[in-house]
Symmetry: none
Subunit: 155 residues, 2 copies
DNA sequence: ACAGAATCCGGCTTACAGACCAACTCATTT
DNA sequence: AAATGAGTTGGTCTGTAAGCCGGATTCTGT
């Protein structure tokens, strides 16, 4: 569940989870996977079903009157796309248009699928390179003043 | 797990773990090894699987909206390359292009593989010499303001 | 309600990266 | 100088990714 992979989306907006990660899904009997928006950067996050359960339930329980909390809930919960994995065959994931646009993924282009341990991130290659070399992306969210309840969370 | 070795990478981008360290892997029943970027200098770090588990799980649990934390997670977790060791044969490790570029390793050149006790470092020879004599590398990262949670960690 | 169109999904095929295995060279030791 | 062990190289073969294609399902407009 670590590391750097370049993969591509086909004309039907599908991509496959790299084979080296499949064992990790199978051995914990994970049958589903959730893709959603990253609240700070133009990228997507991919969680295993069990991880998603933790994160989403924590996020739901945060106090709902704080505007920042509500923004996070909208972004993360409201855009979640649940996919069932086919454990025997290739693990194909269909990306909804809203998410493709958000992460600026053009069809038939290469993009990055990056393993971060308990989750994956999906990035447009140019955005990733820019961000890694210290650049600032037009769409990123800076200096968010976070309520204490969120500061204790790891997404 | 200490000391200074010259190694080389072949045209298939492989290098072999110096024989004197192999016993250390075998006797603790380590079956895997992880190579990743050093967040400060243009060099690579090599961890035994058990060491990597500690470091990566600590890093994952840090607060996920802090931009500095995310930078570290991207660099260290996102570029990790996990290799399964074949205990019977020679221990060959494949270095992905991203990591070779980062540490400025050209094919068919000699590099340094330096044992630091619980980890190894891989350096381009010129960069290492420059750094050891007090020089500053173009790509190194200075004066990063780190959140307290990170200051307590050792990578 | 129906026909045509667009979208979705699985199977099949091919090219290629990476794993595996084996051999060769060089250095060191006896 | 022979033998052993280490590092390095090379060939082969398997498994994976990704393109292609056809069938199924859903959507749309009439």
């Amino acid at each position: 569940m670590f590391g750097y992979n370049t993969i591509s989306i086909d004309q039907k907006h599908r991509f496959s989870i790299p084979a080296k990660y499949r064992a990790d899904f199978l051995k914990t009997n994970e049958t589903e996977l959730v893709v959603t928006k990253d609240p700070q950067y133009p990228s997507l996050k991919v969680y295993k079903g069990s991880e998603w359960k933790n994160i989403s339930s924590k996020l739901q329980s945060l106090q709902g009157l704080d505007p920042i909390v509500r923004n996070l809930q909208w972004t993360i919960l409201g855009n979640a796309s649940v996919t069932d994995l086919d454990p025997s065959g290739r693990m194909l994931v269909l990306l909804p248009e809203e998410l493709r646009n958000y992460a600026e993924l053009d069809n038939d282009n290469k993009f990055l699928f990056i393993g971060m341990g308990n989750k994956f991130e999906i990035w447009n290659t140019d955005n990733w390179n820019l961000r890694q070399t210290g650049g600032t992306l037009a769409t990123e969210i800076l200096d968010v003043v976070l309520p204490i309840s969120i500061k204790e969370m790891s997404f």
